[in-house]
């Protein structure tokens, strides 16, 4: 369900993206800068929630833009921009994962333990963090939930971005919600009890 209090930022820019992409294809500098400004935060969030790591998200964002730049002619004016963009982002993420595994397989383990990632945002004490919730899900379900809930894409857009059918996206989302519900239930219950005690 979409946030009832405010419209998704993605929906707000969705109509504009089409025009900005057309400007990008025509090598219009202002349009291109506006497109990068509008799309980069969406992609960065997608990668951040997928990797749980700001450094990897930054690398993947840069790689994605290089790819987008190379294949920008494959976008057809009038088509939805986000599925096109996320399909490229998704493949960049898969390639990035493979590359990372290749590097790790060649690296030697060190004695010193690397520092743990500092959480990006303060997390309410009674609630699990978003990353912790996402880590409960299998990769395919995590991807679908991130695209639906973080980037605010529609079912059809997610289906196009992940090269699957709408039915399959619905099924993955349903399973993910069921699992999240089970994980969230105790925290929500605690929260409600705390609130009622405060009152």
């Amino acid at each position: 369900m979409i946030d009832a209090s405010s419209a998704s930022p993605v929906r707000a820019v969705d109509g504009e993206l089409d025009k900005l992409m057309a400007a990008y294809q025509k090598a219009d500098v202002d349009g291109t800068v506006a497109l990068i400004g509008a799309v980069s935060p969406l992609l960065y969030r997608f990668f951040f929630h997928q990797c749980g790591n700001a450094e990897d998200a930054a690398d993947l964002l840069q790689d994605t833009w290089l790819r987008v730049h190379k294949v920008r002619h494959t976008y057809r004016p009038g088509e939805p921009v986000l599925p096109w963009l996320y399909a490229i982002a998704r493949h960049t993420k898969v390639d990035g994962y493979r590359r990372k595994r290749r590097i790790l397989s060649r690296e030697k383990t060190m004695d010193s333990v690397p520092e743990a990632r500092v959480p990006f945002e303060p997390i309410p004490a009674s609630m699990p963090s978003f990353d912790a919730l996402m880590s409960e899900l299998p990769q395919s379900q995590r991807e679908v939930v991130t695209l639906l809930k973080v980037t605010g894409m529609s079912l059809e857009e997610v289906a196009r971005a992940t090269s699957s059918s709408i039915g399959s996206v619905k099924q993955k989302a349903h399973r993910a919600y069921e699992r999240l519900r089970r994980v969230l239930a105790p925290a929500v219950k605690d929260n409600r009890e705390t609130r009622s005690n405060d009152v």
Partner: protein, 254 residues
């Protein structure tokens, strides 16, 4: 009240009643404060992209690409029939020709559609095309077993190798023609795109062999004619894997 406001008020009312959606709303609140793109990174990306901006023309429509690919396939088949002759066509009974060429045409159409969809990221997928294509190829293989007789051939390998070579020659010609169309695509999954292009080219080779080859032995057709299509598929896959590997070597992971 606008439609948007109406939808929001409906959503608010629904949230009051539905416990499941309230739990999902909690999830939504957890991701309310989103991470920001580092300004330095944003600036670097903008500089790199703006620095190499050139106008590009968008890809033609799917229908235009499909027509182009199928026309190229038809040209390659016609060239094969003209160059090699059409002894096979004359040997085939009408019903045999109808079954084999309909299945080959269906296979080529599916392969071309699969290629076109892979060229454009985020294309709509209503039918699992790879599955449909595999089913058509399996059907073609089975149909050959059922509709052609078994004939004793003392030169099974020698005759077969001759057909296999011809099939591969025309597959190579068709593959080279298709490459000029396919290279404009996004190549997000090079191995799949290479294999599909190889299969499409292989089916062109198969069609040329069916027009040219007068041997109507089912073993000969399934082993050597279908074999040349299979070889073309594997070659397409191998070329794509080689190019990906070269790309990886030229652009080291570090």
């Amino acid at each position: 009240m606008t439609c948007d406001e109406f939808e929001r008020s409906r959503a608010r009312e629904h949230l009051k009643e539905c416990g499941h959606c309230r739990e999902l709303q909690t999830l939504r609140e957890l991701i309310a404060d989103e991470p920001e793109v580092p300004a330095k990174l944003q600036g670097r990306i903008t500089r790199e992209i703006v620095g190499s901006l050139r106008p590009v023309s968008p890809l033609p429509s799917n229908r235009a690409l499909l027509t182009l690919l199928l026309s190229l396939a038809a040209v390659a088949c016609a060239a094969g029939a003209w160059w090699q002759g059409h002894a096979g066509w004359l040997e085939l009974a009408g019903w045999q020709a109808a079954i084999v060429f309909c299945l080959l045409a269906a296979g080529m159409s599916l392969a071309a559609t699969l290629i076109v969809r892979q060229m454009v990221p985020g294309a709509r997928r209503s039918v699992p095309l790879a599955l449909a294509l595999s089913a058509t190829c399996a059907l073609l293989f089975t149909a050959v077993l059922l509709i052609f007789p078994y004939e004793q051939d003392s030169d099974f390998v020698l005759n077969g190798m001759h057909c296999w070579e011809i099939g591969l020659e025309y597959s190579t010609v068709a593959g080279a023609l298709f490459f000029f169309v396919v290279r404009r695509g996004a190549w997000l999954n090079p191995l799949a795109l290479g294999a599909s292009t190889g299969l499409f080219a292989g089916l062109v080779g198969f069609t040329v062999l069916e027009i040219f080859c007068p041997y109507l032995d089912r073993a000969h057709i399934d082993v050597w004619h279908a074999g040349s299509a299979l070889t073309a598929t594997l070659t397409g896959f191998a070329i794509a894997a080689l190019c990906s590997g070269m790309n990886r070597i030229l652009r080291p992971a570090s």
